[in-house]
Symmetry: C2
Subunit: 244 residues, 2 copies
């Protein structure tokens, strides 16, 4: 089975056998976490970057009054803090949503790889800029979209990302996110998330129970979300020859 990071980075550009080997044979420090554990806290100084191998995790920021904003969900193949390679001090925390297997790679190794393999350096850079694109998309959701559109959009996004990693089948995927967590991600209260989910169910667009989400009417869901996957850069059209 191919390494999640290899699969993820090949969304950007095909890797040579040597480049794949470099990533796979790198000295990953593997660690298992339970559900709802803190992986990294805001203010920590990182000396390695952590990749999700399996499970769901999230980045979050806390307000002084204890309110929380989840800034992203991370799935297999996602680095939770690749930026810590350059920004040592964490500006956000990272927590697991489900039990997770994580792999950590020291910044020394990342630096070494990125100097010896410029294409891998670019692929890693690419990973961080796609992160940024997703942040921009979330901003428009939180800032300008109605609650219904916001939730629908998130469900579309996760489907697209999980599908690209081979983790969704038939418009259905594991979605182990509580309604409170959803609210924290979308800037909504738990109560309101609950009501909007019921609305989506009532319209026959989705069903969600037991941590599994099923999209029943993808076109309609994308319509209420005004979802366009381009910002995820999951496909080759957005690539350029010289980066290969």
């Amino acid at each position: 089975m191919t390494h999640p990071l290899v699969r993820k980075l090949e969304l950007f550009a095909p890797l040579s056998d040597e480049e794949k080997r470099v990533l796979e044979k790198a000295p990953w420090r593997i660690r298992e976490y339970g559900a709802d554990e803190d992986v990294l806290s805001e203010g920590d100084r990182a000396s390695e970057s952590t990749l999700v191998l399996d499970g769901f995790s999230c980045r979050y920021k806390l307000l002084p009054d204890g309110r929380r904003q989840i800034t992203s969900f991370n799935i297999a193949g996602d680095f939770v803090d690749l930026h810590s390679f350059l920004l040592k001090q964490m500006d956000h925390g990272v927590a697991t949503l489900t039990p997770c297997r994580m792999g950590a790679l020291s910044h020394e190794v990342i630096r070494d790889i990125s100097e010896r393999y410029p294409r891998l350096a670019r692929a890693l850079w690419w990973d961080t800029v796609v992160d940024g694109s997703i942040f921009r998309q979330w901003m428009i959701g939180i800032g300008r979209r109605t609650a219904l559109g916001r939730i629908a959009h998130l469900l579309c996004e996760l489907h697209a990302r999980l599908h690209a990693m081979g983790l969704a089948t038939n418009g259905s995927y594991a979605f182990p996110v509580t309604q409170t967590e959803l609210g924290d991600a979308l800037g909504l209260s738990t109560v309101h998330v609950n009501r909007v989910l019921q609305e989506l169910r009532g319209k026959g667009l989705i069903s969600l129970r037991g941590g599994t989400l099923a999209i029943h009417d993808a076109p309609a869901l994308q319509e209420v979300a005004s979802f366009d996957a381009a910002y995820l850069y999951l496909h080759g059209e957005s690539r350029d020859e010289h980066t290969r």
Copy 2:
């Protein structure tokens, strides 16, 4: 006078004379824009990245119904689309707020520089990840902060960034942003922006007229914003030795 990009990147790590020269002598394509002009539109395919040399610009995304979300303000030294080096297709537009002088550098040149000067490659990468950090901070603002805190926070952020580039004196800086634009950046209506600004003025925290913002009580403003500049990575504490 030092090149805005050099000044900006040296916030990350000191550059050698050669590295500075490479940036300064690079084949920038200089172009002047008037106020409220489009620089780049969503969907464009970029073959160069554009840097603000002078003036104010912003990134924005449009919703199908015409509503707009501004995702960042860009000042001298900021690339508006360095990520387009890796993500050819623009996922957002770029527009000027004031007349601007911009410098564009072709992706070929960026690639060449980043392969020949790994430290410059890291500095450019750093620029994009700081971008991401700012996006995360905006998300918590839009998602979880009250309108008052949101506006206050933005004013603090711009002061910190402009100050780092030598563009603020005495807590005062050029702020040529209309209330409509402010609303589009913060996810608020123009009317509400107006009222909150009056509240900030009434409390004696700021004054704003003729496109100039003056912060009268920085500690109090930071208090209502719960502002902590760490996420901007403007100072050396967050650096690591091996990246120098």
